[in-house]
């Protein structure tokens, strides 16, 4: 995982994440101020016009941006669900969209014009190829609109297209829980838990949790939300078994539990 582009380019602390957003917003705001200054210099505006101009052209704050980005990220989810795309491709579309607006401001690129491009590139990146024409037929905007920012999107993604989502870890833990709690878990119950957690993962990836925690940690946090007793029991048994061989690569149970609880409260 540490070799993955997801870890190398897209893992941040909360502080770093905030800093990035402030920086992206500032770059866009500075550009706007500069453009307005140029505009003022080219026109001879009355004082009243100047006052109106200053009052009306306030750049968005970081939080305004975040509201817009989250609003349109939800649209990406709804549209890609409407297109009947597989769960992981919906997740990749959302991830591409959110990352684009970590690197760019909504004041530079209208989020509406990235919605379909992110879904289209996600389909290509996940080998779920839909030609742009058939995509445009299903998804409304014309092919030029879809392709217009494909390059810019790829560049903003730092060319990292392989994303590890929490879904496969969910399947993995579904199996390993059966192994560690062998004979002590009801399989039907596990199946229902699995389905509920899958839905919760799709909601969770709309938040910043994907930048702050690894996919398995997100999965364990969501499992913990679903059934704290089961997961605590599972982790206790799993790590107590390992505790005999105290060596450097054994993950410390208490550290992991702290991380999972942090992640859990963040998601909640």
């Amino acid at each position: 995982y540490r070799h993955s582009s997801q870890y190398r380019f897209w893992s941040f602390s909360k502080e770093r994440l905030r800093e990035k957003r402030v920086n992206t917003n500032k770059i866009a705001a500075d550009t706007i101020y500069k453009n307005i200054l140029d505009f003022k210099n080219q026109q001879d505006l009355t004082q009243e016009q100047l006052d109106v101009l200053d009052a009306r052209t306030q750049p968005l704050s970081v939080d305004d941006e975040l509201k817009l980005i989250n609003f349109y990220a939800k649209k990406v989810q709804v549209i890609s669900q409407h297109l009947n795309l597989p769960t992981e491709i919906i997740a990749t579309s959302i991830s591409f969209f959110k990352k684009f607006f970590l690197e760019n401001s909504v004041m530079q690129y209208d989020p509406k014009s990235l919605v379909h491009t992110t879904i289209f590139l996600a389909c290509k990146a996940e080998n779920y190829f839909i030609s742009v024409d058939s995509f445009a037929k299903k998804a409304k905007p014309n092919r030029e609109a879809i392709l217009k920012y494909e390059f810019k999107l790829l560049e903003s993604l730092k060319f990292s297209l392989l994303i590890h989502h929490p879904y496969k870890p969910l399947h993995g833990f579904f199996l390993d829980i059966q192994n560690v709690l062998h004979g002590k878990v009801d399989l039907n119950y596990m199946g229902q838990t699995y389905d509920k957690c899958k839905k919760k993962i799709t909601e969770a990836i709309l938040t910043d949790v994907v930048y702050l925690f690894t996919p398995p940690q997100i999965t364990l946090a969501i499992l913990m939300i679903e059934d704290e007793a089961l997961i605590t029991k599972y982790l206790e048994l799993k790590f107590s078994v390992n505790s005999e061989k105290k060596n450097n690569d054994t993950i410390s149970f208490s550290t992991l539990l702290t991380i999972i609880n942090d992640c859990k409260s963040f998601i909640q």
Binding site: Y1, H164, P215
Partner: protein, 47 residues
């Protein structure tokens, strides 16, 4: 380093979805292997 970082024991897993695939003709003929599926999702979980 080919030593696996975790134990994979197929007998312990009851995964109706995968079990069903394992018996389908086109999966058997293609060389489909449940241990590869389990290894994949367990690796992603323990990564």
């Amino acid at each position: 380093n080919t030593i696996p970082r975790f134990k994979l024991d197929e007998k312990l897993y009851s995964d109706p979805f995968i079990k069903d695939l394992e018996n389908r003709k086109e999966f058997v003929a293609s060389g489909f292997r449940t241990d590869y599926v389990y290894e994949r999702v367990l690796t992603e979980a323990f990564m």
